[in-house]
Each structure stands twice: as C-alpha cells, then as structure tokens.
C-alpha cells in the first residue's frame, strides 16, 4: 500500500514512476487481509481500486517479480540495474483467464495459507484482484522439482530454451487452445537499467513467525497465527470466510488470542512493541462475534495499545460484543489429543492467580519484524539499518524519512512496525521528498 500510494501521489504530481515489486503482483500485505481497523472496512475493496488506478496511470510503469541488483550514481541521477525474474509468462498476452490453472494437474499448499487449507496450482494468479492480472509458473515446477509429485513439466530431455513449443506441459496446451500462447517456459530472467532522480524504499515488513513449539505452534494443529486467522476470516481466503479449525474443519465455539507472542519475553524475541497487534486482535474478535455471536472469545494481553484515532472506541466495541479481555501471561499450552482442544495455563496479572482455560482454537498474535529483503536491499542501496533490521532515518526529527543517501527516502513498513494509515501518510510525505528532490536536481 505504501508503494502504491507513493506512486499515485508522484504520478498525479506529474512525475514518471517505476513501481518495482519482487512478488508477482503489487498490493503487499494488505491484499491478504480481510478487514482493516478501526472501521472494519474490507481491505481488498479499498485497496483494489488503487491498484487498478496504478495500472491505468500512464505515468506509472509497474515491474513485478523484479529485484534491484545495483545502483550507481551519475550526474545526480541514479542508474538502477533491475532483474526481472521469469514468471514464465508473457505478461502482455496473459489475460488471467485461468484456463492454464484449470489444466494444471498439481495442487500445492499456498504459502501462509497452507496450514489452514489454502492451496494453489503450480501455475496460478497470486490472488483474484492481482495487478498485473497475469498468472505465474511456480519456479519449482519449471525447474523440474515437482516432477516426482506428478507435475507435467520437467520430465523432458530437451532444454526449453531450445524447444520453445512444449508438447508436454498442460498449461502451455491450454493456453494455446485459448488462442493466447502466453506461457513461456523458456523465458529467462532479464536485466534492464533505468535512470531515476529519486528512490523511495517501501519494501514493507514481515509478520513474525512463532518458533516451532512456542505455545504449541506447529505441534498442535489448532494453534495458528493471527495472519492465518485473518485469512480464515477472509471471504477470499482458503475457506471462503468460514472460521473453521485445521484439525477437524469444525466451527470452534471458543477461541483465545495470546498477545505479544515473541515479544521481548525471552532472548531472540521481538524486543519492541509492534503496536498494531492489539487492534488486530480487537478486529478479529469483533468479526468472529459477527460471524457467530455465540462464539466465546478471550484475549490474553499485557498492556493495551489503543494509541490511534478511533482505536479506543474500537476496543470498547469489542468489549461490548462480549469479548473477554484477560490481563495475563500464558505460560503453557497442552492439547487434548481426543478433542484437539487446547488447555492454556496462565497467570492472571490482576489477581496473581494461576488459571487454566480450555479453548478450541488458539491464535498467536505475532509481532511485526523487518522485511527479510531489507539486509540485501540496504547493501545494494548503501543504506543503514537499525538494530532491528529496519531502515534507518538520517535525522528522524528534523528530516524524517530521509536516509544517509541523498535522494533515497523511506516509508511504510520499511521504517518499522506501522499501520495502514500511517503508511499512507508516510507515503505522501516520501513522495513529496522524492518529487521535490527532483525539482532541486532539475534546477
């Protein structure tokens, strides 16, 4: 969202923008969410129109599946070497019709949705509203790694780059049958250089992953992360918005959230407050209650972060909906093998008592950590990172969002844990820096 917003602001201002994304579609993490706090607006409903706007803006060139390899500076201009990794698709020809996806024989678990039943084909569109609206072939399939699982590609003795007309791959056939011929198994990574006056880093962040075994994660089936829960709630998610638990696909009648998982409680955890998790939990409990008012919901929390506009009212709404907030420190989770239910042992911080609660689904509220691409990107761009792996500002107070390299600016999750509206604000601010840098260089 931050990158999209920078692009739209700068393009409306009249500046040419390259929007580089290393995934197959623009949209970032927001495209995966169900609702946004504190208004419960539908996430993709408000994001997709902006994505189409980007797509239709003649001042913006979208480059997906693309990475920055290196930059050099020449007469005040950045020369950026980009590598567009093969999607094995001719994006200009692909219309996202999905004939290839239907033809593909192999279904695999889909990234973070895997645990909750999300699947995808080896050739598929990243999500229904993706921009560009084109499919991508899973690299593993193209490289023959899925052959043992029954994939049609990869068993051929001829190198794709020599053959160029696959008689084997079902996706190629399906596409040709549709009259498109957009699947390009012999496509190679391509390099290109672009020249720009300013660079904005909006590379986002990652949700933290629990360690195996933490509160039973990856040991007990019915322990999931808050992002996985978000996908469960999402009408566009793997269950079509049905909140069911992984072990038996039943609708859980009692769900608990544990806040601050991975945060500072022990070594190696996230030592700062990610600030949005309290509101994510409030959102998820409210939606759960709206899906089924009889579902019991408990939030085990420490301090309540209701820091933003309308956040306190949103928390109050959760309480009105009957969400139980318990100030507690859970210290143990055990599974009842028979039922798949979980016993959460915790210390009630208000009374000091040790208590236990049986729940049918346990959600771990994970903190936000710096993007996994930050270290590499920082090296490429010559930027400094802070102790947590987020990009560092040169002078946070007087020159916010500027970096140690003149002409490179930051916004969104690249700077630290952040919510959507703050990302949008920073995006406008970074766009201003980028276009005014342009103006000064032009003088």
């Amino acid at each position: 969202m931050a990158g999209i917003h920078v692009a739209l602001n700068a393009a409306e201002y009249g500046t040419m923008v390259y929007l580089i994304d290393d995934t197959a579609s623009i949209g970032g993490i927001m495209a995966r969410l169900d609702k946004t706090f504190p208004t419960n607006d539908c996430s993709i409903c408000i994001e997709a129109p902006r994505m189409y706007e980007v797509d239709n803006n003649e001042h913006i060139k979208i480059l997906t599946n693309t990475e920055v390899r290196r930059i050099t500076r020449k007469n005040g201009v950045f020369v950026v070497r980009l590598v567009k990794k093969a999607k094995f698709i001719d994006e200009d020809k692909c219309t996202g019709c999905g004939a290839c996806t239907q033809a593909c024989p192999i279904t695999v678990p889909d990234g973070m949705d895997g645990k909750i039943g999300g699947t995808k084909k080896l050739i598929s569109i990243p999500f229904p509203q993706a921009v560009p609206s084109a499919v991508a072939v899973d690299k593993r399939c193209r490289n023959g790694k899925m052959r043992a699982d029954g994939a049609c590609i990869g068993g051929c003795v001829v190198d794709c780059s020599q053959c160029r007309e696959c008689p084997i791959a079902l996706c190629v056939k399906a596409c040709i049958k549709e009259g498109k011929d957009a699947v390009r198994l012999w496509q190679a990574d391509t390099q290109m250089d672009i020249e720009v006056k300013s660079i904005v880093v909006a590379s986002g962040l990652n949700p933290d992953e629990p360690e195996d075994g933490q509160y039973g994660y990856n040991v007990y089936q019915n322990v999931i992360t808050n992002l996985q829960f978000e996908r469960l709630m999402n009408a566009g998610g793997p269950t079509g918005g049905d909140i069911i638990r992984p072990s038996d696909n039943k609708h859980p009648k009692k769900i608990a959230w544990i806040q601050c998982v991975g945060r500072g409680l022990r070594d190696g955890g996230v030592h700062y407050c990610s600030k949005v998790c309290c509101m994510i939990a409030a959102k998820q409990t409210i939606i759960t209650k709206e899906h089924g008012p009889d579902v019991e919901t408990i939030v085990f929390y420490n301090d309540l972060k209701a820091y933003g506009k309308g956040f306190w009212g949103f928390y109050s709404k959760a309480v009105e909906h009957g969400v139980k907030y318990v100030r507690a420190r859970p210290y143990d989770v055990r599974e009842d093998e028979r039922t798949g239910n979980l016993f959460v042992k915790y210390e009630d911080l208000d009374t000091g008592e040790l208590k236990e609660e049986e729940v049918e689904l346990l959600v771990l509220s994970m903190g936000l950590i710096s993007g996994d691409r930050n270290a590499k990107l920082a090296r490429t761009l010559g930027l400094k990172l802070d102790g947590y792996g987020f990009f560092k500002e040169k002078d946070a107070l007087m020159r916010p969002l500027e970096t140690n390299v003149e002409g490179i600016y930051l916004c969104g999750g690249a700077t630290g844990p952040i919510d959507i509206s703050e990302s949008v604000i920073q995006a406008s601010a970074a766009a201003l820096k980028a276009v005014s840098n342009n103006a000064e260089v032009a003088k």
């Binding site: 201002y13 019709c97 700062y272 306190w312 107070l397 703050e422 949008v424 601010a429 201003l432």
Partner: protein, 688 residues
Amino acid sequence: MSEDIRVGVFVCNCGSNIGGYVNVPEVVDYAKTLKNVAFADESKWSCSVDALAQIQTSIKENGINRVVVAACTPRTHEPLFKRTVKAIGLNPYLLEFVSIREQSSWVHMNTPEIATRKAKDLIKMGVAKAALLEEGEEIRLPVKTDALIVGGGIAGMTAAQSLAIQGFNVSIIEREASLGGMLNTIGEITVEDREISSQEIVKARIEEIRRYPNIKVFTNAVIEEMSGYIGNYRVTVREQANQAKTSFDVSTVIVATGMQEVKPAGKFCYGEDSRVVTQLELEGLLKKDELDNINDVVIINCVDSMNENHGCCNIGCHVSIKNALAIKNKFEDAKIHILYRTLCLVKDERSIVERAKNANIKFIRFPDEKYPEIIKNNGAMSVRAYDTLLGREFALHADLIVLTTAFEGDRSVDQIKGQLKVSANAEGFFQEAHIKLGPLDFPADGVYLCGTARSPKILKDATEEALGAAMRASIPMKRGYIEAEGIVADIDMTQCSGCGMCVNNCPYGAIKWAAEKQPEVIKALCKGCGLCAADCPKNAVSIIHFSDEQILAMVEAALEENASKKIIGFICHWCCHGAVDMAGVGRMQYPPNALLIRVMCSARVSAKHVYRAFELGAAGVFVGGCEFPTCHYIVGNYKAEKRMDRVKKSLSKQGFDPERLWVGWCSAADGPKFANIMRDMAKKLNLG
C-alpha cells in the same frame, strides 16, 4: 434527438471463456436485430491489439456513433476500450460495457442455452442504454499556486516550508504572537534515548521558513472569513494588534490547528489546589524554573481519557515518564510515583521505562474502574490508590500532583468546520476523508489536514503528516487544475424548486447556492454518486452517463420478455460489482434470473427505478451496495438502505409485495455471499 443513432456491438469470445458456453455467433446475429444497431461482430480476444484495431476500423467504416462492448468486466477493461474509441475521435462516454463473462458464461457454465439467453438480454439492455448515451467530458477546474495554512505550529510550519520549496506561495495564520504552537509550552522532546529542547526545534524551523520570501506569516491573527472551494477560496485575516484586515484568494487550505489539553475541572482537586497541575502546566513550571523544592510527586495517568468521552491520548504515558525524569534532573531526591492503567508505549519507546526505573521512579498500576483519590488532611495532601499487583490500597504523600489529561481539538474547530464545511468528531478532532486511505484529505478537494488537529501524536508523526498534507495540496497546484470524470450531476433549473435537499446532502459540498433558491453543481467537485438525483423531489437532478432515462431504458429492455421470471439488480460499481466479478472468477454457479444494472453507488437507485421494474412485472428487485461501513462515496450505502426501507413501506400501498425488494451489502471479496443472495432470491421468489 436529431442525431442518427448507430450502435456497434462488439462481442468477445475471451478464448473459450465466453465462447465455450455462450453461443457467440447467435448472440451477434441477435444483436443485429436490435433497434439502432448498425453493426455487430465478434472477436476471439477483443482486448488484443489486432482486435482493438479491427474495432476502430469497424467504427469508422460503419459510421458507428455508439459502442457496446460485451466482454469481461468494466472494472478492469472499460478504460482500455474507452481509450480505443477515444483514439479515433469518438467520445469515450458513448461506450457502454456489458459484462457477459463474469455475469453469464462463467456463472452458468452448465447451461449454455441459458447463458446465451442471458448474454442476449444483457446486450439488449446495453444497447438500450447506449442509444441514449450522450457525450461527456472530463471537467477541469483551474487551480492556482497559493496556499493557506491555518495554524503556525510545527505541522503548519513544516507544511509551509515544503510548499515553498516548490515555489508555491504560502500564507500562515497563527493566533498567538509567535510561531511554534504547542511546542512553545513544552520543555523538551524525547528523541531516541535523549531529550532535546523543543525551543531549539522551533527556532530551527522558524529560521528555515524565513529563508523563503514566498511564505507570508500572520501572527497574532485570526481568520475572520473563509469560504469557497478548491481554486477559489476567499480569506479575510484580522490582525489582533491593530485590527487590520487583509483579504486574499488561495487555491488550497491546510488545516493544522493543533490540539489543547482538557482541563479536568473539579476532578482530583484540580482548580482548587495549586499543587495539582496538568502535564502542560508542569512543563511550564519546569521551563520557567518555578518549581519549589519538592519531595513527593504523584503522577496520575489517563485522567478523563480511555472512557466514554475521550480515547487514548497516545502520548500521555511517554510524557508522564519524560516529565518524571525532568523533575528528577532538578530534584535528585524527589520521590516520584507514576500511577497508570496501561502503559501505551509503542515501537521502542519502552526504553524510556528502563531509564525511569534506573532513576528510581516507581510505577503502580491501578485498575480501570478504580481511579486513585486525593485526600487532604490539615493542608497535607496524599493520594490513595489501589495497586493491582499488590492487591491492596495504600496512600502516598504528595506535595505535587500531576494529572496526565486527555486532549481535544483546538477551540477554533467549530469556526473552521463552518467556514470550510468539514466535520470533526466528538473529541473535536477533524474527520478525514478515509481513516486508512485518505488520512490527510477532507472529503472535499482542496482542503487537507495534518498534525494534532487530526489526533494527538508525537512530533515526528506530526511532521510526517505535515509533509504528507503538503504533498496532497501540491498535486492540484502543480498540475494547475483538478479534473473530474464526466459522470457528474446536472440540475435542470426549469424543474428545480430550490428546496436545497441536494445542497445539504452532497457529501462533497459540490452543490452550492449560486443565488437564492438556485443550486449550482461545481462539476469539478462532483464525484457522480447520484445521491442528489435519486433524492430530488422534483426529478430536477440528473447524472450524466447514469440518467433516469438510461437506467429506465435498461429496466424496460430487460423486462420486455418473461418479466415474471426476472430479477432486476442494481449494483454499485465499487464493491457489489466486485463481488459479482469474484463470483464469476470463482465460477460460482447461481440462478440466472438477475439482470444487473451497474450504477456508481447504490445511492443512485431511486424509488422510481424500483417501481418501474415492478410495474413491468419483474419477479424481484435487488439493490446491492458496499458492505458497511465501506462506501466509496462516504455515506451512499447508508442513504440507500434508508431509502429502500421507505420504498418497501410504500410498495405495499401500491399493491406490490415488499418482500420482492431485496437489498444486499457485499464487499468486493463477497463473491460467495452474492451467489447465495441470488440463490436465496430465486428460491424465495419461486423462480426455480
């Protein structure tokens, strides 16, 4: 209409996505029989470069002046076809897009005959509308390069500087005698792990501003009058010292009026005892070095916040600790207790807690429902509090009590609300256009907000908002105009009674009084939702490209045959249409009874559209808008819901079963929900 209408119909096979289920040649032949159709053709992929060129050639060769494209969905492909016809000189508003893939072939895959029949009906509706289409144009409103900034605090100054760098002319209006705002009342600001003097920050900013001759500063001045709209604001400023008035025009306005402390009068002995002060008052005492030797300090957080009146103040926890450290700096032996409900320190602000603990500052958590009390005994003051950790009550002696109170919008909020026609929430903070995606915009173009006028926040966040708001204001000033899509309201003054309903209800303030009883649409501000048109008691307001005539022509075309088996659906472009598209992409099979008519917003659907459908014998009517609270026109779905409630009531009076009118609120991810509504309707209305 004297013009000879020649409609060209272009049907896409979308490979086999349409052609595999819909008999496209049959549909093309059918289209040729429709009134006004001069030409019809199919192509394998209408969106391919060669097919687009073929469409252009066909238009030219056959003298086509209205175009119907029957293909996938307008939400993704309409801009492409609009560009295509525009390229050969045809006005793009003369194009109508009919969705036969998402709305027919993909959702009726098992019944090709039915899919074909429905595609024909949809095209017939499209042709009926196309025949009535009129040329539209993007409307431009010139915007000059002068901006006004209301409030000379750090946010206002930062925004001013950011605009001035780009060469725009900026006027800052500041009520106080000097620039700096709330920072002038604060001693120090925490940056990472140290404190720096806020006076230094203000000084540095003022020096930067002075370098720009295109920034004009009015201090000790108030805005006497301010009215207008983007590109056309008229402002009168009165300088309080000499009562001199200056009037000037600006194109954009940034509101940076800041916030003020809520004085907790009558609570915790505030106002009765000079030893009880607020955090801001403490800052003043520290700054002026007016604190007498003190030993025992008790700080009470969340005074009148996190309750039904005020939310979390966002900064109080941090401020209380920072000021506790400042007291410790002056009086090393002072005993300081911070009584708190919850510690709301975000990101890595927590490090200040460590510093406080090292300085021997004590933290005590009290329960939400049990606030501390102040006890006075022979002039001595103490605070009685309940410690949740110890589970008991205790008393602390205090010779200074500091209350961390809530914040509210500045006292000028009401005046500015009236002048700029913007709104504020119950706490007096201005209300942005969209809390997530339009945080620095107001619904109306040309006026923006930033800093603590929006909500309480730290200096860094206020500075970022100021930069962001400056960007938002820069865009129209740099372009020199704003442009609105041609889908706008138009008032027929021969019909208008001057009741003012449209003026009062427009969510964008786009309809103004030109003279008494004479509303005028500022077309560049109009977003085309159609709320005014649907509500107008005199039918005087029309929406270009979605006129009553055009909508009714579609209803009539749809119901010409087999009306008793058909449902007329009105769906909003943004969300419900998204749900329909998603049901299509997901190949969700549902009954084919509904023929959908796209409107920009569900608020466009008026009572007469619904009545007409029932008069013509429709089995049912469906009105679909965005899922609450989302609406791309702020309140459209709420208004539509209310209106349809009224329509239901009056339907029975007219002899129609109100149960045949359905409303549904679908997000763009609600494909399954939409498909279910279609199934339910077919079942309940016995359309089997």
